[in-house]
Every structure is written in structure tokens, then in C-alpha cells.
Amino acid sequence: MSRRLRRKMMNVVALSLSGVATLIGLAFLGAILWTLFKNGLAGMSTTLFTQSTPPPGSTGGLLNAIYGSVVMTLIGILVGAPVGLLAGTYLAEYGRGTRLSSVIRFVNDVLLSAPSIIIGLFVYEALVLRMGHFSAFAGAVSLAIIALPVTVRTTEDMLNLVPQGMKDASTAMGAYRWRTIVGVIYPAARSGLVTGLLLSIARISGETAPLLFTALNNQFWSSNLNAPIANLPVVIFQFALSPYKNWQQLAWSAALLITLAILALSILARTLISALDAGTGRR
């Protein structure tokens, strides 16, 4: 009887611990969000969106940094996502089952988890050194390289979900492969592809390490792609570590802004996934 009791006790203890582990995980998310709201809300005002980053001690906003982040993220996605879509299409369709695609799939996985600071070093060597100066363009390229493997992966996964019967039906009507892919497979996988797009935007808009020595930072308003540009992550990095109160306040506000934007994107993407699941009757 004591053996049975011991097993029951063990069961209760182990399962309670797993509940505790989950609570710990949730507590960290809660703690981080709470800190951001507590410190970030104090600095929320319209000047945040109408003025550029100030010198220490005077008032200002984050306009130039918000603009720089949006522009570099947009260019990064516009360059990275189409290439990722095509490469993912190759893996799921033309190259399916070939040796080359398994090599590319592996390389893509390595890129997906490669440290982003390494991508920054690469773009520094390849672009910044050659052009002779830091630039928004170089920052955008490093973001594109980070977005690329994310879109390749989601594209391949989503295209693989399209039922073979649909592809066969299109082929049987005499459609060429490209027509089947563009006219049948892409529309069928649409919400999945959009989800992947949103997730890669979320991923690159908070990246800091690769921007440190590609886009650098800029105290002033700049819309020149060929010059250093301000951006939210690097502003957070510099301002949070500065001794000036107004800079630290701006860093908290920037941190709150960027986190809210990214969480909103992620939640939107997940809502799309569940809509997709409901639509195709999975789960």
C-alpha cells in the first residue's frame, strides 16, 4: 500500500511542479509587460510622434526613430519576403524531394537560428566597408537577410498544407506548373502566407544587434537612405544606458511602443492561423 501511495504522491508532486513551471513562464511575461507599462506610459504624449530625439536635458520625441524603424522594416520585408516566397516555393514544389532542396532546407534552418549580430558583421563587411559609411540601406539589407529564412520556412510549411488533390485537379485541366502555383496553390495558402509575413515583420522590427553597425543611429531627422538613420531599437540601447533622465524616459516609451506593436502583430498572426485551422477543418 505504501508503494501505491508513494507513486500517487510522486504523480501529484511532479504534475504540480509542471503547473508551477508554467506559472513561472507566465509570470516573466507579466513582469516584463508590467514594467513596460509602468515606466513607458508616463512618457506617452503627442510630442513622442511629432518631434525628433532631443539632446540630453531638453524635451523631444521619437519621430525620427519611428520613421527609421518603419522604413528599414518595410524595405527589409519588401526585399526579403518575395525572395523567401520564391525559395519556399522551390522547396515545396519544383525541388520537392531532391537532394539540393534538403541541403537548402538545412542551410535555411542554420540561417534561421544564426545569431543576428553575425548577420550585422556580414553586412558591415559586404556593404558598409565598401560604401565607406553606415547607411539606412545597409540596415535594411541586414533586416532583409533576417526576414529571408523566416519566410522561406513558413512558405514551405504552408504550401505543403495545400491538398495534393487541388494541385492534381489544376494539372489535369492542362495548366502549366507556374499557373497551378500562382493561380491555385498561393490562393489556397493565402492566410498562411500572410501569417508568415506578419511574423517576419514582427521578428525584424525589434532586431537591434544587426543595426548597431549597419544603420548606426542618427540624432536628427533623416530620410536619406544613404546615410545613418535613427531607429527605435538602437535608440533604446543608447538612451537606456545613458545617465540622462529624459533619455531614459524616452527609452522606456520606445520600448513600450515597439513591444506593443510586435505583440499586436503576433496576436494578429495567431488569429489568422486559427481562422485558417477552422477553414480547413484541421484540429
Binding site: 500517487k8 510522486m10 504523480n11 504534475l15 511542479l17 509542471s18 513551471a21 508554467t22 513561472i24 513562464g25 507566465l26 516573466f28 511575461l29 513582469a31 516584463i32 514594467t35 520564391l86 525559395a87 516555393t89 525541388g95 537548402i104 542551410v107 534552418d109 542554420v110 540561417l111 537560428s113 544564426a114 545569431p115 549580430i117 553575425i118 558583421l121 558591415y124 563587411e125 559586404a126 529571408l148 529564412p149 522561406v152 494539372t171 489535369a172 492542362g174 502549366y176 507556374w178 499557373r179 522590427s205 525589434g206 537591434t208 544587434a209 548597431l212 553597425f213 548606426l216 531599437p233 533604446i236 540601447f237 537606456a240 520600448a255 513591444t259 510586435i262 503576433s266 496576436i267 495567431r270
Partner: protein, 332 residues
């Protein structure tokens, strides 16, 4: 693929009549096929480009210091002597301690999500943990510096020093004043960042266990925990290790969060509470300020080391997950 072959011969016959429309379609087909192929090759080229540019950038440092670069802990920009030992040590130690915290907690979360949570709770909790993964690393850094470090400095670290400090051997790890920032704090922040990744992979591999196996366990009278520990865990062992390695890969390369809380000191201390540095933190801190080609090259050499360490870890992880995939497929 009989249908496809049939369709191919059918299109072949139509093409034989050589209408202008078909010719245009064939050109587009070739263009589209070519474009997807080129994009796929570009993925290969990017990785190749990263490797080549890192090696060529690191070459001056490697040529100058040879093996001493790996074995010396001197990092002196004034005399231009550079050794990678301190950052390499910091990277490995912070990541190792981070995994010590992250693996049990991730395992608990995965167990909770797959075996324990009622279905109405599964989704919200799962999404919340995934959101933790979406939070940018710089946010973890700011939070770690302004919230976690003071907390550790005032309540956790004095306790560690007092209770564990006097112990033989183990006590060496908990010496010195409580700085707040340092190796230990960095490891803790890394652990928090890695938890969502490891628990997501573990949850996915747990779901590959066939229900029949688990039901046989229950049929023999096993408790839920016994089914998890003696059926689910042995079945998914390679996949779990793969997930842990993926998390380790993240931890090794993580930059911004670590840069905030590690203290950025190029030295190796036996105490975990002392400030240190990691490869990525050194690069992030010093790269834009590095004066002189040898200094820059040494930092890129650090990057090259990091690249090869993470490459090895990620490759091993992928290989293990792939093996589990095959097993899952063959058992279906």
C-alpha cells in the same frame, strides 16, 4: 503521380499543335521555375557569403595571433594584444547555466500544455508563452538591467554568498560582492528568453507520441507522471535533445539582452557573481568604437568563432529532430 504524367502527355499533345498561347505559357513556366530556383540558390549564397566574409575579415587577427587567440585571455586595445578566451568562456558558461534553469522549466511547461491543461486553457497559455518569444531581446536587456539586477543584488545574491559561499569547491562560484550585473544575471535573462523556444519544441515532439503507446501505459495502471516519464520521454528523447540544442544555439548567440546585464569585463573569474563578457556582447559594445584594423579584425574573429560554435550546435540539433521525424513517420 500517374495523373501528372497523364496530364504531361496531354499538354505535350496540345503543345504539338504549337499555338502561340502555349509557347507563351512555356516561356512563363521557364521564367517562374528559374526565379524560384535562383531564390533558393540565393539562400545558399547568403550563408556562403556570411562564412567567407567572416573568415576573410578575421584573417589578419588569426594570422597575427595564431592559436594564442584561442588560449589567451588578454584583451588590450592599447598594446593590440587580443585573446578570445574570456568572451568564449563567458559565452559557454552563461549559456550552460541558462540551460540548467531553462530545461526543467520548459519541460514542465510542455508537460502542462500537452498532458495536464484542460482544453480551454491550452490555447491561451500556449499563446502567452509564444508571445514571450516574440518580445525583442533588447526589451529583455532593459528589463534585466533595471528590474532583475537590483532584485538579485538586494535579495538573491547576498543570500547565495552567505549560504553557498562558505561551502568547499561550490562556494568558489559564489564569492565577492553582489554586483547585480554579471555572469549569473546574464544566464538568468538568457534562461527566460530561451524557455519559450525549448518548451515549444518539446510540446511539439510530445505530440508526436502515438496515443496507443500512452494508452497502453494507462492500461497497465500507470499514473500520468509514470506515462510521461517512462513512455513519452524515452520515445521523444532525441527530439527533446534537439529542442534543447536549438535553445542552446539561441542562448549562445543572444546579444542585446546579455550586453545590458553582463558587465562587459574582459576577464575570467571563478565567481559567477562577477562581471564578465560574451562574444556577442564584446562585438556589440566595441565594434563601432574599435580603432585600428587589428582590433576590428579581432572582433570579427570573435564573430567567426561564434558562427562556428552555433553552426555546430544547430546542425546537431537539426539532425536529431530529423531522426525523430523519421521515427514518427515510420510508426504511423
Amino acid at each position: 503521380m500517374a495523373v501528372e504524367r497523364l496530364a504531361a502527355t496531354a499538354t505535350g499533345r496540345v503543345a504539338a499543335t504549337e499555338s502561340r498561347h502555349a509557347a507563351a505559357q512555356r516561356v512563363r513556366e521557364r521564367l517562374f521555375h528559374g526565379a524560384t530556383f535562383a531564390a533558393a540558390i540565393l539562400v545558399l549564397t547568403v550563408l556562403g557569403g556570411v562564412a567567407v566574409s567572416l573568415i576573410s575579415g578575421a584573417w589578419p587577427a588569426f594570422a597575427r595571433f595564431k592559436l594564442a587567440f584561442l588560449t589567451e585571455s588578454i584583451w588590450n586595445p592599447v598594446t593590440e594584444r587580443f585573446g578570445a578566451l574570456a568572451p568564449v568562456y563567458g559565452t559557454l558558461v552563461t549559456s550552460f547555466i541558462a540551460m540548467l534553469f531553462a530545461v526543467p522549466i520548459s519541460f514542465g511547461i510542455a508537460v502542462f500544455l500537452t498532458e495536464l491543461a484542460p482544453s480551454w486553457l491550452k490555447r491561451p497559455v500556449g499563446v502567452a508563452i509564444e508571445l514571450l518569444a516574440a518580445v525583442p531581446s533588447i526589451i529583455f536587456g532593459v528589463w534585466g538591467l533595471f528590474v532583475l539586477s537590483p532584485l538579485l543584488q538586494h535579495s538573491v545574491q547576498p543570500w547565495l554568498i552567505e549560504v553557498l559561499g562558505p561551502l568547499p569547491v561550490l562556494g568558489k562560484l559564489f564569492q565577492g560582492p553582489p554586483f547585480g550585473i554579471g555572469i549569473f544575471t546574464a544566464a538568468l535573462v538568457l534562461a527566460i528568453m530561451v524557455i519559450p523556444f525549448v518548451s515549444a519544441v518539446m510540446r511539439d515532439v510530445f505530440e508526436t507520441v502515438p496515443d496507443v503507446l500512452k494508452e497502453s501505459g494507462y492500461g497497465l495502471g500507470a499514473t500520468t507522471w509514470e506515462v510521461i516519464w517512462k513512455v513519452v520521454v524515452p520515445y521523444t528523447r532525441t527530439g527533446m535533445v534537439g529542442g534543447i540544442m536549438l535553445g542552446l544555439g539561441r542562448a549562445l548567440g543572444e546579444t542585446m539582452a546579455v550586453t545590458f546585464v553582463i558587465g562587459n569585463a574582459h576577464r575570467i573569474s571563478t565567481s559567477l557573481l562577477a562581471p564578465g563578457t560574451t562574444i556577442s556582447a564584446s562585438i556589440a559594445n566595441e565594434f563601432t568604437e574599435a580603432v585600428g584594423d587589428l582590433y576590428t579584425s579581432s572582433l570579427i574573429a570573435l564573430g567567426a568563432l561564434l558562427f562556428f560554435i552555433t553552426f555546430a550546435v544547430i546542425a546537431a540539433a537539426r539532425y536529431m529532430l530529423l531522426r525523430l521525424d523519421r521515427k514518427a513517420l515510420s510508426s504511423v
